[in-house]
Structure formats: C-alpha cells, structure tokens
C-alpha cells in the first residue's frame, strides 16, 4: 500500500521528488514522493482540498532553501504560525521539517552572513523545541549535508535562474539521498546491536602479535583514528544501541586491554555482552543474540577480516556486516554511511536501553552445525605452501618464532644465530608454511622444527602458527602433513613437545582435540603415523614441492 510524502518548499522541488522516487522504487519502499508545487509551503497547509489532506498522504516534508531567510519578511512569525497550525490538528500527519541554513554568497559577507546564520540558528532551535513536544514532528538535518559538501557543490545559479531550483541537479541528487535515508528510517526497524571485532577494528594492531604496548589507540598518530571510532561507538551507545564484542583472542589478555589499557575509551561495562575466544564468530554472535534476547536481524557486525565477515554472512544472513579494513581514517565514515542505525529521534527509553538490555521472547534459528562450518572452510579455497627453510627466509621465520605466543607449542626462543645453524644442520628439518585463501595471501605464517636424529621418532621441537590463520583448519592440515611426511620417511611416531605457558591455551585446546596421546607429564604428545588420527582436511590444497 503506497503512502505519499508531499514535498513542500519555497523553490522548485520536482528534481528532488524525481530522484527520491527512483531510489524509493529501487528499494521497494512503500513511500512515494509527491511535489506540492512551487512555493507552496505557506499556503498548502491552509488548503483543505489540496494534496496535503488527501487520504493517501501520510507525511509532509518541508524542504526549505536559504532564500526563505532572504525573501520572506517576518520568517520567524511565519514559521511559528505554521507550527501552530500543525499543533492544532486533531490527527496530525508525520511532519518532516528541514533545518535552515544561510547562503554564504552575499553582499557584505563579513557582517550579513553572521546575522543570517544567527537567524537560521534561532529558527532551528524553534524547530527542535517544537519537536520535543510533538512525537509526530521530526527535524531533518540539511545543515550537515551542506557542511559536508558545500553550497558550491549543491547550488548552481543557472538552475535557479532557469527553473527556480535552489539545489542544482547534483545538489538534488545529494539531498534526495538524505531524504531517502530519512524515509527508510521511518519504514524499517532500527538495528539495535553493534558487535565489534577488536584487533584492527577497535584498535590498531593485533594483540596476540604486537602485545599490549603495540596497540594503537592513543590520541595522536594512527591511533587517533581508532580513538575517534571508539568515540563514535560510544555515540551509538549513548543513543541506545547495544555494543558487544566478538573477537578471536585469548580472553584474559583481551579483557585486560578493555579493563585497563589507558588509551582504551571503551570499558567492559560499555558492552552488553562480550565474546572472546577461538570458536566461530557466527556462533559467538548467535550466543550473544540468545543472551540479549534479541533477533539476529537486529545485529550489525564490524570486522576487518574478509574471512570472518564471510563466515558470519554465510551462517547468519540477517546480520548486516560492515568492513573495518582499509584506511583507519575512514572508520567513522564507515559507520556514518551505514543506514541501519538511522533514527530521526532518540527517546529517553532508547537512551536507557544500553544500560539494561531487553529480554524479549523473540529468538532466531541458527544453522551453526558442523556441516555448515565445513562448508564454510571448503569455500575458502585454502592453499598451504610448505617449504624447507633457507637462509633468505631465516629472518622472517625467526621473527615468527620469537613473536608467536598463542599457537606456539613450546614457546622456546632461539637466538637468530642458533636458528641459522639449525637451518644448516642435516639432522633438523625446518619447514615454513605459507597460507593463502580466496580472500588473500597471509604470507609466511607457520613454522615447524623437527629433530630427526633418531630416524624412527620425529621429535617436533617447535610447532607454531600465527594467530592470523587460526580457526580455519590450517592447524590440522599442517600437522597431518607433518605426520604423513614422517610416514613417508619411515618414521613410526611423531612426538610434539608441549610446554604450557600463560598464553598458549589455544594450542593446548588443539592438541586435546587432535587424537594424539598425551604423556603423563603433559610435555609430549605422541602420534602413531600408521593410525593417522589427524586427518588432512580434503579441501585444503597442500603444495610441498619446496621441501627437501
């Protein structure tokens, strides 16, 4: 059922109406824009037989230009009279009223404009006051659009001369984009929850690799971009949007950052729910939805990783997914361009909501079964390149050895010199791992150092993977490759050394599920090459031509 929104103004609005309608039709909206005619904003509300009072008119949109500040004498009185008339309706329609701004091109700009800006300010204040008392009356922010693009972009004197258009075709297009968002916000339910990733989204850097001191969210430098993003998330929260965390990290480490990193503006209390772990993010978000008692269709998820975004999109199609990769300076822009949180007003109830979340009966079904997880991994098109380490990769591999803390079975640190010696020692096999998938190449992100002095037992001294590539079956694929290689070399068992540290619980978790046999002391996990408990995922392509 179509609802008409009638555009009223002091200038020609037909271009805006036309642009607006083409966007509305494309989006399948039930709104339809109707042009009330040139310069009708003062008289149309008085005409009971006119289009404003027609039965399928659901909203009035006042789209005023700066010329009203110049051409209408007693504009303040006229505005008040219009508002009073609206207030007296028994059943008022939805009214959308644009804010006013002064045209900066005038004679004596140093003095004239300041007075006109002040007048516009006074009138806008009047609009906001009226809005407070009347829930069907909304204010539409023209001023922000103008500040963003400039009158130079929105206005062209030739069009005013030819057709009494204040907004040029270009300006009309931009303005109708704003009004499109306004009308959609009246029609679509607002998204209620913003679930955010941590690494390279809330802050610059990866906690597992860069450590707490390596994270960027300070007031200067690149960190300031992340800080501004955090501030804008706080804006969301202030306006009643719930914030949640959805991150792959060691829970203790990440919570410590949220709790006490001096540069972090968001504290654990700012989040309605926090999910930090190593499982699928879609499952974490599903748990969040259940915990909050909200449908998945009220969720927005922000992450820099295309793999994570893809996984969540696939498993939970009703969640809107936003991309936080790219220039951190543009992060706030990502939020502002997204229309899901759009709302023309906040109520006190909205503002309080973030503090105590709703317990609604609504729940959604999620297909986060093992089958669809496997579908997802398969869809990645994983390619592993395993190669014997040589002198020229020594630098990168040694760095990996020193920096990797989480998926590192022994956390043994070896000096660069000793490492180079290992590369040349025929009793040791040192292999590096390169990981790529259809989203991109992660580069050299894995390392294994195997002691082969006893030919029947391969003693894996170090086995580690960068946290960037965890959770995609790469761990299992790398290990199964190693075991298969041992079998080909006629070894009988593969032993993985393990030393528990504060940070490598995720590695322990992997070993527990791997089918290997744990020694009593817990320092060795043994795999029988003939029993092949660790199955290579058949959808991972492994290229090991470069292994000697």
């Amino acid at each position: 059922m179509t609802k008409n929104v009638v555009l009223l103004g002091d200038k020609t609005l037909s271009l805006i109406a036309r642009n607006l309608n083409s966007q509305l039709r494309e989006a399948g909206s039930t709104w339809n824009a109707v042009d009330a005619g040139y310069d009708t904003w003062l008289v149309a509300p008085l005409d009971q037989n006119g289009v404003l009072f027609a039965p399928d008119t659901a909203a009035w949109a006042f789209v005023l230009s700066p010329r009203v500040l110049e051409n209408v004498p007693d504009i303040a009185i006229r505005l008040d009279a219009t508002l009073e008339r609206l207030a007296n309706f028994k059943t008022p329609p939805t009214v959308l009223f644009s804010t006013l701004f002064a045209d900066p091109v005038a004679a004596m700009p140093l003095s004239n404009n300041i007075e006109r800006h002040a007048l516009a300010g006074k009138l806008n204040e009047r609009l906001l006051e009226f809005r407070e008392g009347h829930p069907w009356f909304h204010v539409v922010d023209h001023l922000s659009l103008v500040l963003q693009h400039g009158v130079g972009t929105l206005y062209d004197a030739r069009y005013e001369a030819t057709a009494q258009l204040y907004f040029s075709p270009n300006g009309s297009r931009l303005l109708s984009g704003l009004w499109f968002r306004v009308l959609c916000s009246l029609e679509r339910p607002q998204k209620k929850v913003c679930a955010v990733d941590l690494d390279d989204t809330l802050w610059g850097g990866i906690l597992g690799e860069d450590g707490p001191d390596g994270l960027q969210m300070a007031d200067s430098g690149i960190g300031s971009a992340y800080r501004r993003f955090q501030r804008s998330l706080l804006d969301l929260r202030r306006n009643g949007i719930l914030l949640t965390v959805c991150s792959k990290n060691n829970p203790d480490e990440a919570m410590a950052i949220l709790q006490s990193h001096p540069d972090c503006l968001l504290r654990p209390n700012d989040f309605a729910h926090i999910e930090i772990g190593w499982g699928l993010k879609s499952e974490a978000i599903a748990r969040t939805a259940q915990k909050l008692g909200l449908g998945l269709d009220s969720f927005v998820f922000i992450d820099d990783s295309p793999v994570e975004r893809g996984e969540v999109s696939r498993a939970l199609p009703s969640v809107d997914v936003l991309d936080s990769s790219g220039d951190p300076m543009r992060l706030v822009g990502v939020l502002s361009q997204y229309a899901g949180f759009d709302s023309l007003r906040q109520t006190d109830e909205d503002r309080k909501r973030a503090g105590s979340y709703l317990q609604e009966a609504q729940r959604s079904e999620i297909k986060a079964s093992a089958a669809s997880a496997e579908d997802f991994y398969r869809s990645l098109g994983l390619q592993l390149g395993i190669f014997s380490a040589r002198g020229e990769q020594s630098g990168r591999l040694h760095q990996l050895l020193m920096k990797t803390n989480q998926f590192n079975l022994t956390a043994e640190r070896i000096s660069a010199e000793e490492f180079r010696e290992l590369l040349g020692d025929p009793h040791y096999m040192v292999v590096g791992l390169r990981v790529a998938d259809r989203f991109g190449d992660n580069g050299i992100t894995g390392l294994a150092i195997v002691d082969r002095r006893r030919p029947e037992v391969w003693r894996v001294r170090n086995f580690l993977l960068s946290c960037r590539v965890l959770g995609r079956t790469v761990e299992g694929a790398f290990l199964s490759w190693l075991i298969g290689r041992a079998a080909k070399s006629r070894a009988e068992t593969v032993e993985l050394g393990f030393l528990a540290t504060e940070r490598n619980q995720v590695a322990y978790g992997f070993l527990e599920g791997s089918g290997g046999k744990r020694s009593d002391a817990g320092d060795i996990w043994t795999f029988d090459v003939n029993r092949a408990e660790v199955l290579p995922p058949h959808f991972v392509q492994i290229d090991d031509d470069q292994v000697r």
Partner: protein, 77 residues
C-alpha cells in the same frame, strides 16, 4: 572537440533514464515522456560533467535536441 558517439549515447540514456531502444540520434525534448523540462536540466548537468563543458543560461534552455547538442559540443573546446 571530437564527440565519441558511444559516450554521448550512454550519457544521454543514463541522464534521461531511457531504455536502449528509445534512443534516437534525432531525439528532442518532448519526444519521450522521460525528456521533459525538469529532466532536461538533469541532462544538461550530466553532459557538462561527462564532457567537461559549461553551458551559459541561454544554451541551457535552447539546446533542446540531440543534434543541436552534438553540434554545440563539436564546436566547443
């Protein structure tokens, strides 16, 4: 300037929201519903942007057919 006919056709079709089969090189304002006086302004704006030219007030209101428009563009710098 040399006016690339494909570029011109695409520009006009896009600006006026024409179906491909509605385009004719001799089209003028009023020949199709989409080209009314309001849409004409959109067209002028698009042509300016695509071809890097600028019409004065007079040209804006008198170049109301495609042949005249092409002719003007060819003579422009």
């Amino acid at each position: 300037m040399v006016v690339d006919p494909v570029k011109f056709r695409n520009c006009v079709t896009r600006a006026l929201n024409l179906r491909p089969e509605e385009y004719r090189p001799e089209l003028r304002i009023g020949d199709v519903d989409q080209w009314d006086s309001v849409a004409h302004l959109d067209l002028m704006s698009e042509v300016e942007r695509e071809f890097g030219v600028r019409f004065d007030l007079d040209q804006m209101t008198t170049l109301t057919s495609l042949p005249e428009l092409v002719n003007w563009l060819e003579k422009a710098q």
